[in-house]
């Protein structure tokens, strides 16, 4: 069996609770001699506190759930973006002495179950729809929703400046002389993120007299991008600049355009969103709206931890974005003289 507090206490000739105090650093009123002796034994015996007993007694688990909806096939829906977020969150929480429970969620009610079952001190919600988060009842623990525009006051939202990102993409294309633009992204009934990007994009377009933008709904996959790219010139003959709400989509569009005989960026310029490594792997390298993921994760973890220990109130945080200029945007081609 593993070494327990009692074993240490007996060997040190002190009470269990003194050992507990030393182990937990509550040494304000413990003599230095006792501290040294207990710590020596703890190290020698390789004592590790039992997390279950600790949670049960203290009614705090020092555990945070990272909750991710599962898609069809019951698999976690983990985009490269999610992965980076999870990695960053795990690191920050670990350094703060917290543990991470990773769990796929089949239906929203399971969020509350997970919190109860594990006595989670908090939870990070990754990839949920705004409406799902809106509908979440209060569970008494801090909830942090990443990339959500939910209005649920119980959940803190951490996200990037999506409106600004949309603007940036449009402005970049406009500055290069493009006047017929295309916004490509998933239908945004359910996604506040996409809607904000669309808002920013169209707002910037509206500021330039003869510029117009069309919108096309397309799933966020390479294949859907490919298909759109292939038919883009026939479906949108005037368009010379396209903005896709995700890098995979943008990369697919570029490949499709080329398949269809158009060259990128000479005939059609493309801007993505996310700044995935992928954008560096393709030619031309993808110009894209970049979020500072490291900072986003750091802020998210800090907020959650702050809420858990009560030093921070739920709130909304929006992080800045910037344009990562690479090679997929060029000056608009001069149209052939008409008539």
């Amino acid at each position: 069996m593993a070494v327990t507090l009692k074993d240490i206490a007996e060997e040190a000739g002190v009470s269990v609770m003194t050992v507990s105090n030393v182990v937990n650093g509550k040494t304000a009123r413990v003599s230095q001699a006792t501290i040294d002796r207990v710590q020596g034994i703890v190290a020698a015996r390789g004592y590790v506190a039992n997390a279950s007993a600790r949670s049960l007694a203290a009614s705090r688990s020092r555990t945070v759930g990272v909750l991710v909806p599962v898609a069809e096939g019951d698999m976690l829906t983990m985009s490269p973006h999610h992965v980076a977020v999870i990695g960053g969150i795990e690191r920050q929480l670990r350094q703060a002495g917290y543990h991470v429970l990773l769990r796929g969620i089949t239906e929203p009610a399971e969020v509350g179950q997970a919190v109860q079952e594990w006595g989670l001190d908090g939870a990070v919600l990754l990839g949920f729809l705004d409406a799902e988060i809106d509908a979440l009842p209060a569970h008494g623990v801090p909830l942090l929703a990443v990339d959500s525009y939910s209005l649920n006051p119980r959940a803190t939202g951490v996200r990037s400046d999506d409106v600004g990102g949309g603007r940036l993409a449009a402005q970049h294309l406009l500055e290069h002389g493009h006047r017929r633009l295309l916004f490509a992204g998933p239908a945004f009934g359910a996604s506040g993120v996409v809607r904000r990007r669309h808002d920013g994009f169209t707002a910037a377009v509206a500021e330039v007299p003869d510029a117009t933008a069309e919108t096309v709904a397309v799933n966020t996959t390479y294949e859907d991008g490919l298909e759109l790219g292939r038919s883009l010139r026939s479906r949108f003959p005037d368009v010379t600049g396209a903005f896709a709400t995700a890098d995979v989509l943008a990369v697919g569009i570029m490949a499709g355009l080329r398949d269809g005989g158009a060259s990128v960026p000479e005939d059609v310029s493309v801007v993505g969103f996310d700044n995935l490594d992928l954008g560096l792997y393709v030619r031309p390298r993808l110009t894209t709206v970049a979020q500072d993921l490291g900072e986003k994760v750091a802020v998210a973890a800090r907020m959650l931890l702050g809420e858990i220990d009560g030093t921070e109130a739920a709130g909304e945080v929006e992080l800045p974005v910037r344009l990562e200029v690479r090679e997929s945007v060029a000056a608009a081609p001069t149209p052939p003289p008409r008539g």
Copy 2:
């Protein structure tokens, strides 16, 4: 406060342990009437068992650790391959009623600590060096090492047929007439996986009379591949076919070759390993050695669960690989006449 077993017991007018039995499905000797009444109350009150109390009392946690070494920067080292494995493992374990603790490991000793601290029923080791797993002491719980050739008898290994994968890559190039081949991958002192792929590759080359293979050590990143690709033709002027031990590397090499004025596959053919989506996003699409990741994960989860409940013994499982033929390999160019 949350509803407890005691609350249910009082409302149902039975003992706590009868409720416990019903909740845990040990209903062999409980009357149907009691079962129905208890289950009704459980559902109505939204009872969820407290995992900490349960672990503590039963000395089994129904929790499995997914342990991943952290790189510099203290971040989880999560390749797309790891992500897919984690996603699959989480799903299988969840469906089996287990939970997943995700934890970054700074030094091997933390593996044992994590097991003890949480009373983990088992652990999945992802991305560890063979030597690190060799050195792991027995922790009394099943350990499953993914993609490891560790000799540690306490750890079950699940991996792909790396020797066969190396052979497949070489044979494919040889069949297309290539006789001067290059093996590009990380120095394999520490990696049994890479060494096996190299073994298979060189063995296949050795079977063809006038074929030869050179080996170059390069880190598994796009950038390192790019650099290698750019200098490939000057460093290895005779080479017409290259095998990279990872798709990102292969994609980098292809881009570098093109930067250096060579065309792929006309001048140099390239084969990767992993079958990441990335290989479909680049042109030419990457021919690569594919592992059946879904099957690998399924087997891994089944083994681990089997070992936990004692129906399975530790062992080694090797899964087949196949070649995913796409566009990055062509017939060897006929060399210009010499002299």
